[in-house]
């Protein structure tokens, strides 16, 4: 079985890699397997973890005992029926005449996400970032090194200029336009660095696959 598993994994890996040569039936077969299997994977995982694990076990708790034999069964939570009802309404989208009712669970999802993100992003990705940008120039105890001072100035100038670039309600001309231009330079440096890291990430994944092919499968790596 282990031999079969290795060969199957190698067959599928090489099938996807064959796309580099050109689009071909081997690749298409692997792609179709991937699509079907992914859908099946999440179908099962979400059933057991969310629908069974959250709803069913929440409404009908399993009898549980600790190592001392004391019962630790949780209290049933019948409010979870509301969640299940919203979920069923979501599936109504597949029924043409009553598909509109799926807007209710959709509204719930959108409302939850909006409420949660409003606070989380406002606090962590905005206020804390502003706080992190405007720092004492020479350090809180006048102990910052020259490297840190220059760095902090670069961060403050770059962030401000970058934000000016994203402000489109005023025409980018004069001093404002010049600042926006500086912002573009910082953004370009950022994209370049991100590109470098993306190369690193993709190469790492490729190394992982090569390690499988040459190591686990063919046993060529010591």
């Amino acid at each position: 079985m282990e031999h079969f598993a290795l060969w199957l994994a190698a067959f599928l890996t090489l099938g996807i890699v064959s796309f580099l040569y050109k689009d071909n039936p081997w690749y298409k077969l692997c792609e179709a397997i991937f699509v079907g299997l992914s859908a099946g994977y999440w179908f099962v995982v979400l059933f057991w973890d969310n629908i069974y694990g959250k709803f069913w076990v929440g409404v009908f708790p399993l009898e549980e005992f600790d190592e001392a034999g004391r019962e630790i069964t949780a209290e049933p939570d019948y409010w979870l029926f509301v969640g299940a009802a919203l979920g069923i309404l979501m599936l109504m989208r597949l029924v043409p005449n009553i598909g509109w009712i799926s807007r209710w669970p959709l509204a719930f999802i959108v409302g939850s996400t909006a409420g949660l993100y409003l606070i989380n992003y406002f606090s962590s990705n905005m206020m804390r970032q502003v706080q992190g940008t405007i720092v004492p120039l020479f350090g809180a105890g006048y102990d910052a090194s020259a490297y840190a001072i220059v760095g902090n100035i670069v961060v403050a100038v770059g962030t401000f200029a970058g934000l000016v670039y994203f402000f489109f309600s005023k025409e980018h001309r004069g001093v404002f336009g010049g600042t926006a231009k500086v912002g573009v330079f910082f953004l370009m440096l950022t994209f370049g660095a991100s590109f470098g890291y993306t190369v690193m990430s993709r190469m790492s994944l490729l190394i992982g696959r090569m390690d499988f092919l040459l190591g686990d499968w063919l046993g060529m790596i010591k």
Binding site: K28, F47, A193, G196
Partner: protein, 216 residues
């Protein structure tokens, strides 16, 4: 009815999530727990909807004998295989040694990992064919990529070994990542946060309604 109730649901749920941040006590903590559980359940059904839709489209492709319908059969078979095995295994479906785990380890993982891995080839090809220093901005982008790529691997320091430690490529890459790169990322992050906050407010207050689609 078709628009008012969804708007009401969005507004109430959104406001509760905002309030529970400031008042993490009863009843908001309880409502937060309910809503987060409901969210998980509804999200699961939403993914189910996507999977079932995929099946619907694939079956239509097969019955109407559209081009490449054979691959639609493979999609259906793979889906059914994973689903049947997963349901048959019971709640311990993920345990090591189960058929579901076997399919995951030896079929799903190689496919998904290789899908992402082959992007390495396309990134390299694009570097050769399209990554050009056409103007000052593009040169800055190229330079940053160049320095970071070399500075983040040991070869960078080998190439600049003759220079003082703080001037070597690893130090330069670190400086770029920690300062100018951080500044740019932060500007983007704050910009996104501002957009998210304003859009969220519009949604909660019922001003933004595009997510509800057209019609009444």
């Amino acid at each position: 009815m078709r628009r008012e109730i969804p708007l009401l649901i969005t507004g109430i749920v959104g406001i509760v999530f905002v309030l529970q941040y400031f008042i993490p006590h009863f009843p908001f903590n309880r409502m937060n727990a309910w809503f987060s559980d409901w969210f998980s359940i509804v999200a699961a059904f939403a993914i189910w909807l996507g999977a079932l839709n995929l099946m619907k489209i694939s079956f239509q492709k097969v019955f109407r004998r559209k081009s490449d319908w054979g691959y639609a059969v493979v999609i259906i078979m793979s889906f059914l295989l994973m689903a049947v095995v997963g349901f048959a295994e019971g709640k311990g479906f993920r345990d090591q040694g189960t058929a579901f785990d076997w399919l995951f380890q030896f079929v799903y993982t190689p496919l998904s990992a290789t899908m992402f891995a082959i992007l390495a080839f396309f990134v390299a090809s694009a570097s050769y064919r399209a990554f050009r220093a056409r103007n000052f901005e593009a040169t800055l982008l190229l330079l940053a990529a160049f320095l970071v790529m070399l500075g983040r691997v040991p070869t960078g320091d080998v190439l600049t070994g003759f220079m003082p430690e703080g001037m070597r490529l690893s130090a330069v890459a670190s400086w770029i990542m920690n300062f100018p790169q951080t500044a740019g990322q932060r500007a983007i992050m704050i910009g996104i946060a501002l957009g998210l906050v304003s859009t969220s407010l519009r949604i909660i207050l019922g001003i933004e309604r595009s997510h509800l689609g057209g019609g009444d």
